[in-house]
């Protein structure tokens, strides 16, 4: 495992990103900036119905139109796919049934976008409309009298259920009974979507002759078993895509299109934001590939903003019920949760989401007994999937509000209540997840101090208040999405005679800085300046496999892989220099572009000379590094591998709000964000992730609603606001002041001690704001978002009941309750 050094030269310092200037000068090429010779433009025809059978599709008029070069329908790609190998339930284009408004039915490639748009109008699709399920609770009650969203996998089952998970740890009922205080609550988390500023875009290129290299003289026996005939067997498919998961895209393109994976190349340009919204294959990637194969010309499809909203895969709406019991001292005894997840039309990551809805709640607080019962339900709306903080943001909201309610009942300050329940370091959660480093207490201390909590909680004037919340998140998952025993992350690194380091990385740079991170590792270990590190990336033809940018896995896994590769090379360089100087290899330091003798730093040479010595001694200098997760660390029960991570991050937030009781407008003044990221490899990037996460949590708390019309309000299943004007995301004027406080617990297994920072810091924003609203005006907001109409309605109710006032301090509340 990576050991951290106390004398880091490069790691931990504020640095530029390697592609920062390229981005700020407008020279970065994103997917839509790429144009290939002879390129056609594609468009996808989408269903206007939320649920319907496809009776017929007539493309003849579109095919005949001038300027149209190719049309494909579902029948051209009749193979199901899905990011989770156990739930492949979607086709690239619908074959016999459409399941949401926006489901793709046919795609056209034409000389330009305008012609493609016109051609779509010429495609005649006859539908037989079916009753649609829009409400997950109704979908759960369905009896099969009308077709389910998906046919039941077994006779007599409800086909609308994607996944049901029921897990219990400890004796929940007995400990609930034995609790001194039990709080029950019902919560609703509204769906939200990622809205990266870059819309999805893909380009397909088919080279029948296998690309620029000369074709093999004859096909060897290795190809014989592929079952591919003629043209496809010898061609090469290249797809450029704004994806977070080039490796999974590679696999699914090969499988669905029937092309040998060795003939598929996925190139991932730099991605203009993703947040989980580009972490599985989408219809456009299959369509550009198929259209390119059909027309023989490159094809590009760029989603419109409206299509991005319908592609979705964002936060599941959750209906949640929690019962939480604690003793008189505020120590948790028992937690009982019931959750219904509104999944939308396809499974997506839903199997994992259903587990995550319960599995990731068992820290940072110790709980002796815990049960969750989660059901993901299909509905005729765009599929939900993973959004930053996958599956655990929703229960965290409910749970942290429950904690606030409990602390009031037992008469504890909510920060003290959380301290009292701290699970500790090097321990196991009730569901058997292994916790190693844990800086949660330091996070609580930091936000308490920075926010001036002691002078504010229950002390600010009516209408203003503060709230606290905590959370945990994974640094990647111990088990990959498809079962295999290969490494999860890998790096190839080479040194050349000019003194440069070339790093080949398959990781997905989506703005979080993973390309820079591996460059920092190379600079640290090999002592070269950052500008001498080149990162070659995002191309499945020449980079080792990395599984993708999701589940906050990249820094932990790729960082360890990079350290391993770099240290192999460093060892060779040290050995060669030591031989030259006739000293011990361990005494050769590499730093600041120099190789130095530790005993007398006057004795030195440039890293270039050192690399040349090493190449003379060892031959061409290259090294591989890889990382695989611990496979013996998980719960011994069905589902016990889900949620298991090599390390967990911890976060605490304090929010300060001002509520206008006349309008219901909640003004979030400031969020203090303390996050235990293990070690900040570059504090600039860690702060950026913390601020961006807190911003996104704030947005979900106050503004965002990914909702659909029902039959009484326009066309059923139609998105309520598929534009960046109507689907409100915060502008600079809306966003509160954000203060990030980095906590470093130095994880024993992380690269230099690092853990994740990209998703964990989102979680507490929402409950911290809810709890602050309570502190401000005594109203519990148990449903999201806390929009002015929703808050105002509750204010009016409280006013009518004479209960609109500042809540009592927790101790006083207990005394008052006893008197009452």
């Amino acid at each position: 495992m990576a050991k951290y050094k106390s004398d880091l030269n490069f790691i931990g310092k504020r640095q530029r990103k390697i592609e920062g200037l390229e981005k700020s000068t407008g020279r970065t090429l994103y997917a839509d900036d790429i144009r290939l010779p002879e390129m056609l433009h594609g468009k996808i025809l989408r269903s206007p119905h939320p649920h319907a059978r496809i009776v017929s599709v007539d493309t003849s008029a579109a095919v005949a139109m001038a300027g149209v070069h190719g049309v494909v329908t579902g029948k051209d790609m009749p193979t199901t796919y899905g990011i989770i190998p156990w739930t492949p339930d979607e086709y690239p284009l619908a074959v016999d049934r459409v399941r949401y408004v926006g489901d793709g039915v046919a795609a056209v490639a034409a000389v330009d976008e305008d012609t493609a748009i016109r051609a779509l109008d010429l495609i005649r699709v006859e539908y037989e409309e079916l009753p649609a399920f829009l409400d997950p609770l109704a979908a759960l009650e369905a009896d099969g009298s009308t077709p389910y969203v998906h046919d039941a996998r077994k006779e007599g089952r409800n086909g609308n259920v994607t996944k049901h998970v029921h897990l219990e740890f400890g004796d929940v009922d007995e400990l609930m009974e034995a609790s001194d205080v039990v709080v029950e609550g019902e919560y609703f988390f509204e769906g939200t979507t990622h809205t990266p500023i870059e819309p999805h875009c893909a380009i397909g290129l088919w080279q029948p002759d296998g690309g620029s290299r000369p074709p093999a003289p004859s096909r060897g026996p290795g190809d014989a078993g592929s079952g591919l005939g003629g043209r496809q067997a010898s061609g090469k498919l290249t797809v450029w895509s704004a994806t977070q998961v080039p490796h999974y895209l590679h696999r699914e393109l090969a499988r669905v299109l029937g092309v040998d994976p060795a003939r598929v190349r996925v190139i991932q340009p730099l991605v203009g934001g993703a947040f989980g919204g580009k972490s599985e294959p989408f219809d456009l990637e299959f369509c550009v590939a198929k259209l390119a194969m059909k027309t023989g010309r490159p094809v590009k499809i760029l989603y419109t903003r409206e299509e991005v909203f319908y592609a979705h895969r964002g936060r599941h709406p959750f209906h949640m019920k929690y019962r939480t019991g604690c003793d008189a001292g505020g120590r948790l005894k028992s937690v009982d949760a019931q959750i219904v997840l509104d999944g939308g039309a396809y499974a997506s990551f839903g199997l994992v989401t259903t587990y995550y809805s319960g599995q990731l709640l068992c820290a940072p607080y110790a709980m002796p007994a815990y049960r969750f019962d989660s059901t993901r339900v299909y509905t005729n709306k765009p599929a939900c999937g993973p959004k930053r903080g996958h599956g655990s943001v929703q229960p965290r909201f409910a749970f942290e509000v429950q904690m606030d309610k409990l602390s009031e009942r037992v008469g504890l300050d909510p920060i003290d209540m959380r301290r009292r329940n701290f699970i500790g370091e090097n321990t196991r959660t009730v569901n058997e997840l292994r916790i190693t480093s844990n800086g949660f207490l330091a996070c609580l201390d930091a936000v308490e101090r920075a926010s001036g909590w002691r002078n504010k909680f229950r002390k600010l004037p009516f209408g203003t208040g503060v709230g606290v919340a905590g959370s945990t998140y994974i640094s990647g998952t111990n088990y990959p999405i498809y079962p295999n025993r290969m490494p999860q992350a890998a790096i190839q690194m080479q040194l050349d005679r000019s003194g440069r380091v070339a790093v080949f990385s398959g990781a997905s740079e989506i703005g979080q800085g993973c390309d820079s991170m591996v460059a920092y590792v190379a600079a640290e270990e090999l002592g070269v300046p950052l500008e001498h590190v080149r990162v070659y990336r995002g191309d499945t033809d020449f980079t080792p496999v990395d599984l993708g940018a999701y589940s906050s896995r990249v820094t932990f896994m790729l960082g360890n892989a990079a350290i391993q590769a770099a240290r192999k090379l460093r060892g060779m360089v040290q050995e060669a220099v030591a031989e030259e100087w006739e000293v011990k290899a361990g005494e050769v330091l590499l730093a600041g572009g120099r190789a130095l003798w530790a005993s007398d730093t006057e004795r030195q040479m440039s890293t270039r000379e050192a690399f040349n010595l090493a190449e003379a001694k060892f031959g061409t200098l290259g090294a591989r590094g890889w990382y695989d997760t611990p496979k013996d660390v998980h719960g011994e029960y069905r589902g016990g591998t889900i949620g298991a991570s090599p390390a967990y991050s911890f976060t605490a937030h304090v929010a300060e709000v001002a509520v206008d009781v006349e309008t219901g407008f909640v003004d979030v003044k400031k969020l203090w964000v303390a996050h235990d990221c293990g070690r900040a490899l570059n504090p600039v990037l860690v702060e950026g992730q913390m601020e961006g996460s807190a911003y996104m949590g704030f947005a979900e708390a106050i503004m965002e609603q990914h909702v659909f019309k029902d039959a009484d309000h326009g066309r059923a299943g139609l998105h309520d606001a598929p534009s960046l004007l109507d689907y409100r995301i915060p502008t600079s004027m809306d966003t509160p002041e954000l203060e990030s406080l980095i906590i470093e617990s130095i994880d024993p297994e992380g690269p230099y001690g690092a853990k994740e920072a990209g998703e964990g810091p989102l979680h507490p924003s929402i409950p911290a704001i809810a709890n602050a609203i309570y502190d401000a005006i005594g109203i519990r907001m148990d449903r999201l978002p806390f929009s002015p109409p929703a808050v105002w309605r509750q204010i009016e109710e409280a006013r009518a009941a004479g209960k609109l006032c500042k809540p009592l301090v927790p101790g006083a509340a207990v005394v008052a309750a006893r008197r009452g």
């Binding site: 530029r16 990103k17 592609e19 920062g20 200037l21 981005k23 700020s24 000068t25 407008g26 020279r27 970065t28 090429l29 994103y30 839509d32 900036d33 305008d114 748009i117 016109r118 109008d121 990622h194 809205t195 990266p196 500023i197 870059e198 819309p199 730099l270 991605v271 203009g272 934001g273 993703a274 947040f275 760029l302 419109t304 903003r305 989506i510 703005g511 979080q512 800085g513 600039v684 990037l685 702060e687 950026g688 601020e691 961006g692 807190a694 911003y695 996104m696 534009s723 960046l724 004007l725 995301i729 502008t731 600079s732 004027m733 966003t735 002041e737 954000l738």
Partner: protein
């Protein structure tokens, strides 16, 4: 040092403008095709001054300024995030004013001085805003960055010592989904300080 000819002209013109001038005024929207189906796709020649160069380009008559820049002139720095003036990723400077190029018909931009993100830097190096964005981590995914830089450049042409509130207001037409804006404010403030120091 960092200025090219075009931005010097922009600044000279704007020196006369008072503070607090709205910096995000889209040009009047006229002639934008409402119905592509009936729209002829006749190519027209338009003349523009882009990043100091006089350019003539043949584009379909309904093209926006953004389409002309990206598809006609190969200037892909300006981004299309929504194509309806909501996100601000397409923001460019038209006669020094931050303008949404995706809802500006190219005809409206004829004869005007256009500066895109590519025109902010010059042969000597990046614009201070561009450098400070890099130093402060103000560009994560970088997709909104070109538009934000143009809005910020327009602001700094109006005032060389903007307050935090003025920066917030000037950038309010540009959505960033990565940063939470904090690092962007810090970068704009640092760039303003550097430009004041450089005179």
């Amino acid at each position: 040092m960092w200025e090219n000819q075009a931005s010097r002209k922009v600044r000279r013109r704007n020196r006369a403008l008072p503070r607090g001038v709205p910096v995000r005024t889209a040009l009047p929207v006229v002639g934008r095709a409402a119905n592509l189906k009936t729209m002829p796709l006749a190519t027209e020649i338009v003349s523009l001054t882009v990043n100091g160069d006089r350019r003539e380009v043949g584009v379909p008559g309904h093209y926006t300024l953004l389409e002309t820049l990206r598809y006609g002139l190969g200037l892909t720095g300006s981004k299309q995030g929504c194509d309806k003036g909501d996100c601000g990723a397409c923001t460019v400077l038209v006669d020094g004013e931050a303008t949404l190029s995706c809802i500006t018909p190219v005809r409206e931009a004829e004869g005007r001085e256009i500066v895109t993100v590519e025109g902010l830097a010059n042969a000597h190096g990046p614009h201070p805003l561009q450098d400070e964005f890099d130093l402060h981590g103000a560009a994560q995914c970088g997709f909104c960055t070109p538009g934000i830089l143009c809005s910020a450049a327009s602001l700094l042409a109006h005032t060389n010592a903007p307050t935090r509130d003025e920066i917030r207001e000037a950038l309010s037409g540009n959505l960033c989904r990565c940063t939470g804006y904090t690092k962007i404010y810090e970068a704009v403030e640092a760039a303003a300080a550097r430009m004041r120091d450089d005179g």
